[in-house]
């Protein structure tokens, strides 16, 4: 009899245990990304799938090969919209924003007027575009001062500066710098007054909750890069609205008069 009772109790315990095991290994603030049923390959493929809810007639009628070539040769950002559900103070949600660079590498030629101080032989020079592959061996630098004997020592990608030695102290010259550049992008947080019906503007504090892993990515020609966007709400935060929206915008640092950027909508729904 005891054996039967014991078995009857052990079986439910085992079943309960099986049910608890996966749960107990997931941290409380874990992000659970459910399978996407009617849309595919959101994160895996470099090229957005032809399949999806929002296909357009123009895209559908285009042969896939042409479509993919077009995607390779143009700059794009994906996804257009991310939905976060059941978020709560203390939790974190994250998603990769994918940015594709459709540009080719370009050759830059820049001129600088420079005067060195007494005893100054090493100078940091900020170039305008990101140096391709950060390869200083491919940079050509020419001085019109014959007493200069210039050597590029290093490149700092954070401020796009070349450290150059061999300057004649207390002298002036015109420098010509030629180099191959890749494309610099920006990714920024934005609150827009353009909201989905039913959604409020993001709380002011949300700007501090959203972490952009790399806000100034540099992309090689035809490269697709994933930039992790995390939203982490502090435990003690009070969020007034149940549903709110923020945007991230990404684009090339063009330097032109008209700056193009692509905005991804982030729709957040708090847990009740």
């Amino acid at each position: 009899m005891f054996k039967k009772i014991a078995i009857m109790l052990i079986i439910p315990i085992l079943l309960l245990g099986a049910g608890c095991t996966p749960s107990s290994t997931i941290p409380k603030n874990a992000v659970v990304i459910p399978p996407i049923e009617d849309v595919k390959d959101t994160v895996i493929r470099d090229i957005p799938s032809l399949e999806g809810e929002q296909k357009t007639a123009a895209i559908n009628t285009e042969p896939e090969s042409e479509y993919e070539i077009r995607l390779i040769n143009q700059t794009w950002v994906s996804p257009a919209e991310v939905k976060i559900g059941n978020l709560y103070p203390g939790a974190t949600a994250e998603w990769n924003l994918r940015i594709h660079n459709g540009n080719d590498a370009s050759i830059e030629e820049e001129m600088y007027s420079m005067i060195t101080d007494p005893e100054e032989t090493v100078v940091d020079l900020n170039i305008k575009s990101p140096l391709a592959n950060e390869d200083i061996n491919k940079v050509v630098i020419i001085s019109d001062n014959k007493k200069d004997n210039l050597v590029i020592i290093s490149y700092n990608s954070n401020d796009r500066s070349l450290k150059i030695s061999g300057f004649q102290p207390q002298a002036k010259r015109i420098l010509t710098v030629k180099y191959k550049s890749w494309t610099g992008f920006f990714v920024e947080y934005l609150v827009s007054d353009e909201k989905r019906p039913g959604y409020a503007l993001a709380p002011i504090e949300a700007k501090d909750w959203v972490i952009i892993e790399d806000s100034t990515p540099v992309l090689a020609p035809k490269e697709t890069k994933e930039v992790l966007i995390s939203i982490s709400i502090p435990n003690d935060a009070v969020v007034k609205d149940n549903k709110w929206e923020f945007w991230t915008v990404a684009g090339e640092r063009s330097g032109g008069t008209v700056q193009i950027q692509m905005a991804t909508r982030w729709l957040v729904e708090m847990r009740n």
Partner: protein
């Protein structure tokens, strides 16, 4: 002795059961909560002309970013007047917003939005095919405002701009940026 051992085992089992049941419930309720989903849509846009090198600008005048850099004539505006073309090269119908900033350089120029630019103020406006005349163009403000609504994938919109100046207090070079943002149409 054998029965005593069974009783002890049973007691341990019951204790374990009671201990695990509530813990299991709490864990189940607190996990699998946060969900993140997205669809494989992508946003992309081109603008055929991204620069406007205005050059020297006189006080109290209007300069045009049109074909030929002149005021459209005849009115309303025609396609042949348009300086640039925005194309939605993304996969979904999208809206496009536009905004400007104050110009920098020297004392700067403040972007005016009511048509009466004061000292060191300028105003900028955009127009499209069919815009009746210069007065009917839309002011570019420092906050995002709708520029194109529901632009289908592969569709395009040609456009132009002008800049109206007032009086200046310095002669330093100025620069400003117009930001055009594309986002999913709802």
């Amino acid at each position: 002795m054998k029965n005593f051992l069974k009783l002890r085992i049973l007691a341990v089992v019951i204790a374990l059961t009671l201990a695990l049941i509530p813990a299991g419930s709490v864990m189940a309720a607190s996990t699998a909560d946060v969900t993140v989903t997205a669809t494989p849509e992508y946003l992309a846009m081109t603008n055929s002309e991204n620069t406007w090198a205005i050059g020297a600008v006189a006080e109290s005048t209007t300069v045009w970013w049109t074909v030929g850099d002149v005021a459209p004539d005849p009115e309303p505006f025609e396609l042949s007047d348009m300086k640039s073309m925005v194309i939605n090269t993304g996969s979904i119908a999208s809206d496009v917003k536009i905004k400007g900033i104050d110009f920098t350089g020297g004392v700067g120029w403040t972007l005016d939005v009511d048509g009466t630019p004061g000292e060191d103020n300028v105003s900028m406006k955009w127009g499209i095919v069919g815009t009746a005349n210069a007065a009917a163009m839309t002011y570019i403000t420092k906050t995002d405002a709708i520029f194109i609504s529901d632009l289908a994938a592969s569709a395009n919109q040609s456009w132009c701009m002008n800049l109206e100046t007032s009086t200046f207090t310095d002669g330093e070079a100025k620069s400003g940026t117009i930001t055009v943002t594309i986002f999913k149409h709802v």
